[in-house]
Subunit: 569 residues, 2 copies
């Protein structure tokens, strides 16, 4: 491709409205332009990268038996009403009416549409399992679209849906998709973790999110430094340590405090360690008032607690509600003397003593609290957010934190959609059963941004060869020099003949401009035709390593092949 | 691909809501399902055909230097307001509001979006010409979506836009795209005509529509039976014959008629040939009253007349208006004695005499009218719809009619969009000029339907090999027979190894069901493993010709290769 008339409008300056590096570099490298907030045009360079990512996705999914189809973007409201999501989705669902006033949604995801197709198309277990996928533009009206392609309102997704007669069959496809995802994200050059995720309210069960590690990621991942354990912070579990602490329990006592607004402040006044201080939270668990106890240096993990308490809802009471219910200031709430409410204490408090806690007297704290002796604990539960340095729950290594960009998810949906939409098949005994379903997403455009977050330097993008828009960038340093121009043209045609994917910078620009643009665009191999053109020498530079060698034109084909091999490994 | 779990829900019966053959066959062959009126799911079989069409389109467009990009589907209203099309488009434009109440359109076409990108990205003639394309889902809220994929509300289009500094450059790309379209439609197996089309109100000039010939087509094409001349009926021109008729002009006379409601009725009473009768139409040309004269056996072509009269609007007066303006019944309107209105007469009347016409007397007609002698004709103009048997305007052969499905269009837009959106470049002298633009569309999903309209028989689809969902259909006639099953599996793996694109019917169905489905789906080559499996013999059948031969498994590879060659020519 000749760069002279190739649409790559590079920019010198960092656009003021781009906060993250992938957004900045995609704008500067002439890959994308914004048409509206969260709505982008993919210019030819981006389109080429997307096509390469898509073909890797396609290849790996077809290898595990997934079939490609295309579902529509216009969804009749009736389908979403069948599952109740027409109301649940709120403002994120883009809605419209056709000329006859009928309601439609613009598809952000396609569980309803595919389930409606399958309920009509498949009647027997003999046609199962089925695994279908599509690669398609999706629409979601994000409240705050930002970070370029990382959080857009119109974006490219690969979504897949599988249908099964048994739990085993679902599990088999789920595992196969998980492995396909590992291969896909490895092939596109990403450093990622598959993390245990929240299955949310949609009736699902097992789910993993695939997270590309990156500072700009909006999610925190807790992972083991010496095993494959990784979970979203909200899902990371703590190890239950049931051994009673060594020291002998001291008698319960009290200490004066000076109008402390919180137990943490009281601990500070008394120089009592936070790790030996109990904080008391008042909560409503499915409308029932209860108390939660955690160490004062720990933080409640509401999502995990909800699961652990087998609750549908969990609400932490605010200052006003505490005053109303307990007739005390929020900072003075205690569990001592409680006889009516259930008390759930975090694992970290199990069998522990020697703790500081609020007492029922305003200017006093209880000290030397022994949880077993002084309180009636309903049960010990995993309530807290894990911290860096905690032991990994799988027993190997300790927990570290990282930030991640969600690039994919595998999800066992179970029968939520087939139940609510009446989608069933006849089993071997002729009985109707709801399909067991799985769904599997990959954010294709977001993956491209994540690749850039991981592969760049101060000068621009550094594409992994598998997804690079071109394999090779050919530069004529001085287009007016006849020897350079002739040699360049000759090299360009022979490279094309050899099947290389070449961008040829034939522009009448200065060498400095060409080098800068080449670094910015980040094509893996660069061949410059410069001063030594008369001797037949070219410069070959590897973008990722900076390695630079002079190569004679006769040796070029061979040298490039070996560099390509190196980069592909 | 094993058919057992491949999603091809074939239907035995013709769906009652499908009127045209492509719609019926795509439903019956398990290619598509309707999700809402004019909104379809493309099941895996259709997706495979679409992918093949798309890759042919991509190949031919890239060969003429077009660059692929992807423009968004969500268009901010502001862009469409710049060209005035936000108001002009009416109900066909699907509109929606985002969560902040901002107006958006769902893109039916992308002139505004691409022009807004290019006006920012390209500042100099040095980056021109530019030709970009995308293949994408489009949205248009048709009043009457129908005929399956032929007229949908959500459909797949290839649209391309080119930008130029000169008229010559635009013409060069326009011609290259025209030729690329010819190659594309030839390769996908269509019989088509490039027809002269109406450039409409959008300020464009040259335009050709590519029409796949088919009975269900909504457009009538007038074409020459011995040259490449073809035009939409509305655009087909007549030859101007300026030779005066042979016979000597007779004196103007009159004949009694008996309350004739029209000149055609009067002619019948008088046994006067319609080809020698003048019909008079009252029209408003840009608000000016005028008379149009045509032969009574000819029909007014309003669209062509508008162009020929260089008018912005042309309205034919109805009965009431004629009565009001001329104080006569519509059937009695005459041009004789007219002194105030301009009279335009059709080419076919030029220099003619011996005509029947209304006179100003109610129960009398004028006969032997000589147009030169008895009327004051402002000018002779090409006003009429051409008819079958007319001489072709290029002087070669005679006009025939055919019906066509519009599958593509090439269009010189000129500067309509760049003018209204202020999109300009600097020329060699540093002066700002609006871009000259071209646009080029192909209805991808409609092309698939058009292929089926042209390639089917009573039993189903007959795919051309270039776009067939698979090249080969392998059938095991009795899956329970061990020899057949073993041989089938062996053939299947060796075909796959040889790179064949195979659908393998391994279903536990009766042979009759498999044959019926195979014919319906229409894969070009069929290999059946049946009773002679024990001798190693298979049946090879060519879908298009019905040719059937028994082939030994050892000769299969070679025989298939030669059949593939035959079908590819």
């Amino acid at each position: 491709m000749r760069q002279k008339t190739f649409l790559v409008p590079t920019l010198r300056d960092v656009p003021s409205d781009a906060d993250v590096i992938s957004h900045q570099l995609m704008l500067r490298a002439g890959m994308i332009r914004q048409t509206a907030a969260g709505v982008y045009t993919y210019l030819p360079l981006a389109k080429r990268v997307i096509a390469k990512v898509e073909s890797i996705v396609r290849e790996e999914l077809e290898a595990v038996g997934a079939q490609e189809l295309t579902l529509p973007s216009l969804h009749p409201a009736e389908l979403w009403q069948e599952t109740g999501r027409w109301d649940k989705m709120g403002d994120e669902l883009i809605r419209l009416q056709d000329r006859h006033g009928r309601d439609f949604a613009l598809g952000p995801t396609h569980e309803e549409v595919i389930t409606s197709i399958i309920r009509d198309a498949i009647g027997s277990y003999k046609k199962l399992p089925l695994n279908v996928f599509q690669i398609q533009t999706k629409f979601r009206d994000e409240r705050r679209p930002r970070f370029g392609l990382l959080r857009g309102r119109e974006f490219i997704m690969k979504d897949a849906y599988s249908f099964h007669d048994t739990e085993e069959s679902l599990d088999e496809t789920y595992q196969a998709m998980y492995k396909a995802y590992e291969r896909i994200f490895t092939r596109v050059g990403l450093t990622f973790r598959a993390v245990i995720a929240d299955s949310g309210a949609m009736g699902g069960k097992d789910t993993f999110e695939f997270m590309a590690l990156a500072e700009v990621g909006e999610d925190t991942i807790a992972y083991s430094d010496s095993s494959s354990y990784a979970a979203n912070l909200e899902m990371a579990t703590s190890v239950r340590v049931t051994t009673r602490s060594e020291e002998t329990s001291q008698p319960l006592s009290s200490a004066k405090v000076n109008a402390a607004a919180s137990i943490q402040e009281a601990a500070q006044q008394l120089e009592w360690p936070l790790s030996r201080t109990v904080q008391v939270l008042a909560v409503k668990i499915d409308e029932e008032l209860a108390l939660l106890l955690l160490r004062a240096d720990h933080e409640l993990n509401e999502i995990k607690s909800l699961h652990e308490l087998h609750a549908k809802s969990l609400t932490v009471l605010g200052e006003h509600e505490i005053k109303e219910q307990f007739k005390v200031e929020a900072g003075q709430l205690t569990a001592l003397g409680n006889t009516s409410l259930k008390i759930y204490a975090d694992y970290a408090l199990e069998g522990q003593s020697g703790f500081l806690m609020n007492s029922s007297t305003a200017d006093e704290c209880a000290i030397q609290v022994d949880l077993n002796r002084d309180l009636t604990i309903e049960s010990y539960v995993d309530l807290r957010l894990v911290q860096e340095g905690d032991p990994s729950p799988d027993g190997e290594g300790t927990i570290q934190f990282a930030r991640g960009i969600e690039i994919g998810q595998v999800f066992k949906l179970g029968t939520f959609y087939s139940d609510s939409m009446g989608a069933s098949f006849l089993d071997q005994n002729g009985r109707a059963n709801p399909f067991k379903m799985g769904c599997y997403g990959i954010g294709v455009s977001r993956t491209v941004a994540a690749i850039i977050e991981q592969h760049h330097d101060d000068n621009g993008i550094v594409w992994p060869i598998a997804v690079a828009p071109f394999q090779l960038h050919l530069l004529t340093l001085n287009s007016k020099n006849e020897e350079q121009a002739t040699l360049s043209e000759q090299v360009y045609s022979s490279l094309k003949k050899d099947g290389w994917d070449v961008l040829y910078d034939d522009r009448p620009e200065r060498a400095g401009v060409k080098f800068k643009d080449a670094d910015l665009i980040g094509i893996p191999l660069r061949v410059s035709v410069g001063k030594r053109a008369d001797e037949g020498f070219l410069e070959l530079k590897v973008r990722s390593t900076g390695e630079s060698i002079d190569v004679h034109v006769d040796d070029l084909a061979e040298t490039l092949q070996s560099k390509l091999q190196e980069l592909s490994n």
